[in-house]
Symmetry: C2
């Protein structure tokens, strides 16, 4: 229950974000530095993300499993790139049951290694492939600069892992999961994303190729919102994952991994929110509709609650929360639920009951302009239409915003200007050295090389060398 | 795919269990001693347990949240009984991000302490109570003697935590959750349970009172299948969880916790399984029905698969798996799915199609006696009736078995005999010293003091002192 106003989003985006996460009770700081507690409102949102993703995964033949939290340190060392990438971030268990361990165990930062170990036992023949697994869990990466949801020492995610008979199948699955993330982001969360390949320096430690979906936040910074990696046969060689092919020859499997985390909740907040607070996308919001009954006397109360009882079947089709808290004014409740981002508010008072109607208010267009009187008889259709409209409007607004802040500078001087407040879509030579110089100079990094390319060739925005691909550069979370 | 026969359940129950878990691909051993990998078939079963429990929790107002994995060591030390109980079992992180930590962090063995810490921030007023939270996660307890599902170093569970304004509410919630566990066990898993209170020596470290549901396994040993604890104000005092009551006085809250874990999967295996393998309870089985199409020629195959297509809408009402694997005989598939415990097998061949019928076979009554021809027109009803029958039959069989192996010895000599192969339902004085002597002598411990008491008084089966309650003694997992 927020009495003080939120910091303004345009004045202080970072403080607006932090305050909003705390006040809306999505999450709180945990006692261990860099860890967070996800509170019921935040976890209900995550459960809806999970359901939307999980059903998409399962529709492609993926099944869930659970691999252990603790991994022998030696496992990480088997894949050279992998250990170089993760060694600085590890939490290490050295004592168990009161005794010093012979071999330290790491709390998983990701599970390629332990899954690789198990697969070397399970995969014998081409008949065992493809093997399509996913797990929902948390992982720990020691982070110095943390921020609720966006970068925490422990975070929640799903990590998918698949094994295939060859390069084409692995690449196909990698791209398929990227497409699923994009579909989820746009059609569930109303967050427009660019699908693209990560540069060599930005790819996953141990991957052959990494892909990501990239979204523009409300301050124009980029956020990597999901990643999908073709691991080649790197982990298969490190963990001896081999199968007998149809010609009875031993072959290394090809593997992939792909993940989307609670970071995505940060994206939802930063893409859609406004000065009043959260705006949650209708298909994922814990409460799609909040009902605020309005009454002054006991008689009025009985009248209003009686009408809501008669509407219960219609309302049950949605995730509805009825705010029956005593001692709070309707105005206070309106503000409270606006701050917490419920897409549709349903107001009902004695006059509405007399007219056999309710008032629906849209969170994304505050004030009178978004209000609509809907007859009892058309309630479910009216709510559904409004939820769909809100989804479309949020997606459109975010797409327009991204377009308005995505620039195509014609030289490096202009590039330096535009990345101050937006993304740069430019020809890039692909060299890591060039990328590093740009980053040191402007704090903008390559976000991805979009899959959707215009064709043709150009000159690198920085070094002027020939370039075959356009890349997105931006400051990023 | 098991070619070798399972060890016989009656000859070697322990080895039957271990082999069955591995061969049915419920779980596998992980590289870290005492840890397990839950494979897709096992995890799908756990997901069904989760759904059945989660909906029951939510119906009582509980919401899910997520508290961190890592807990400062000092938190555990605040509640004296708690740290004494858990200190020997801790996994301790001493290195993070490459540096030695100033304060070691423990991997949660349970979350009362960190939740207590957060609640001291969140709970201010009686209006904040009751606070009803749950989380699905894994916890780590260093175990020396481990067994897949039953006792593993890391295990998966839900841990519910609630805070209340006083003793009655806390006790009420503790018992309510115990009842939910019993309802779940009996009506979802077909596992009959006894609800009861744990003795002083068997209660949770830090609890005022602990309750459990106890189930009899197929070898007559007992298994504690779920626990619910009234924590009194012990954790509230340790973590300063206080609220202003309606008279504006500061009061300590009363808290509860309750958990049910992947151990329950062990109970399902050991209660229902037989020499052929698993028998999964119909309401939780990953596949309720396995379809084995029978055909010799391509024409026959087209005929059979065409019929299945026409039945798709009926079949979709259940969790159905169609076994279309090539190169395996129907007989092999029958054995394979029997071993994996699918409740109903649906056979369909060309003759069945001609007669517009399928053959349904029950897993719990192997052989011809359980087979039933069901017309296409009555398929869904036929399957539903068979699933319900199997549930009832499994529950009845387990109840009869428990009854046949629960004894009421009249003296301690007889007691020593009966606990060799069953439970003893006896008057007990309630003294820990007496309990310890019995355990050292017979390896039977108090499982619980059943809530359902006959009334009256008696003499302790061991020491002969006056006894007000009857208790269940048994050897336990």
């Amino acid at each position: 229950m927020a009495e003080e106003r939120l910091p303004s989003r345009s004045d202080n985006f970072a403080e607006w974000y932090n305050q909003l996460v705390l006040r809306s009770e999505l999450a709180d700081y945990a006692p261990v530095r860099g860890c967070m507690v996800i509170r019921p409102y935040g976890w209900a949102l995550w459960e809806n993300l999970q359901a939307a993703l999980d059903s998409r995964f399962k529709a492609t033949g993926v099944t869930n499993a659970a691999f252990p939290l603790l991994i022998p340190m030696s496992f990480l060392e088997r894949e050279k790139q992998h250990v170089e990438g993760f060694a600085p971030e590890l939490a290490v268990v050295t004592i168990g049951g009161g005794e010093k361990l012979e071999e330290p165990l790491v709390v998983r930062p990701t599970s390629e290694t332990i899954i690789g170990h198990m697969w070397s036992k399970w995969i014998k023949s081409y008949r065992d492939l493809p093997l399509l697994l996913n797990q929902w869990n948390s992982v720990v990466r020691w982070e110095m600069r943390t921020k609720l949801f966006l970068r925490t020492m422990e975070f929640y995610w799903q990590e998918g892992h698949t094994a295939h008979a060859g390069p084409d199948e692995a690449e196909g699955r990698t791209r398929q999961m990227l497409d699923i993330y994009a579909d989820f982001a746009e059609n569930e969360a109303a967050v427009p994303v660019v699908r693209g390949q990560k540069s060599e320096s930005e790819k996953f430690a141990g991957a052959l190729r990494s892909y990501s979906i990239e979204a523009m936040m409300g301050d124009t910074r980029a956020l990597q919102a999901g990643t999908s990696h073709n691991l080649g046969d790197n982990f298969a060689r490190a963990f001896d994952i081999r199968y007998l092919d149809k010609e009875n020859q031993l072959q290394y499997a090809w593997t992939t991994s792909w993940g989307l985390s609670t970071r995505f909740i940060g994206a939802i907040i930063m893409v859609h929110g406004d000065d009043q607070g959260l705006i949650l996308p209708p298909r994922l919001a814990p409460h799609q509709v909040v009902v605020v009954p309005i009454h002054k006397s006991d008689d009025e109360r009985a009248l209003v609650m009686g009408a809501l009882d008669r509407l219960a079947d219609e309302l049950r089709r949605f995730r509805v929360h009825v705010d029956t808290r005593d001692g709070l004014t309707p105005g206070f409740k309106f503000n409270d639920w606006e701050m917490r981002g419920v897409p549709v508010r349903l107001e009902i008072g004695p006059k509405d009951v007399a007219r056999e109607q309710v008032m629906l208010a849209r969170r994304d267009t505050p004030g009178k302009q978004g209000k609509l009187a809907v007859p009892f008889a058309a309630l479910a259709d009216g709510i559904q239409a409004m939820l769909d409209d809100i989804h479309t409007a949020l997606f459109q607004r975010a797409t327009d915003f991204r377009q308005a802040h995505t620039h195509t500078p014609s030289d490096y001087a202009e590039f330096r200007q535009v990345v101050e407040d937006g993304w740069a879509d430019v020809w890039w030579c692909g060299r890591s050295a060039c990328e590093t110089e740009i980053k040191e100079d402007t704090r903008a990094s390559t976000r991805c090389i979009p899959l959707d390319q215009p064709g043709g060739t150009g000159r690198c925005i920085h070094c002027g060398e020939p370039a075959e691909k356009r890349a997105l550069f931006a400051r990023a979370y």
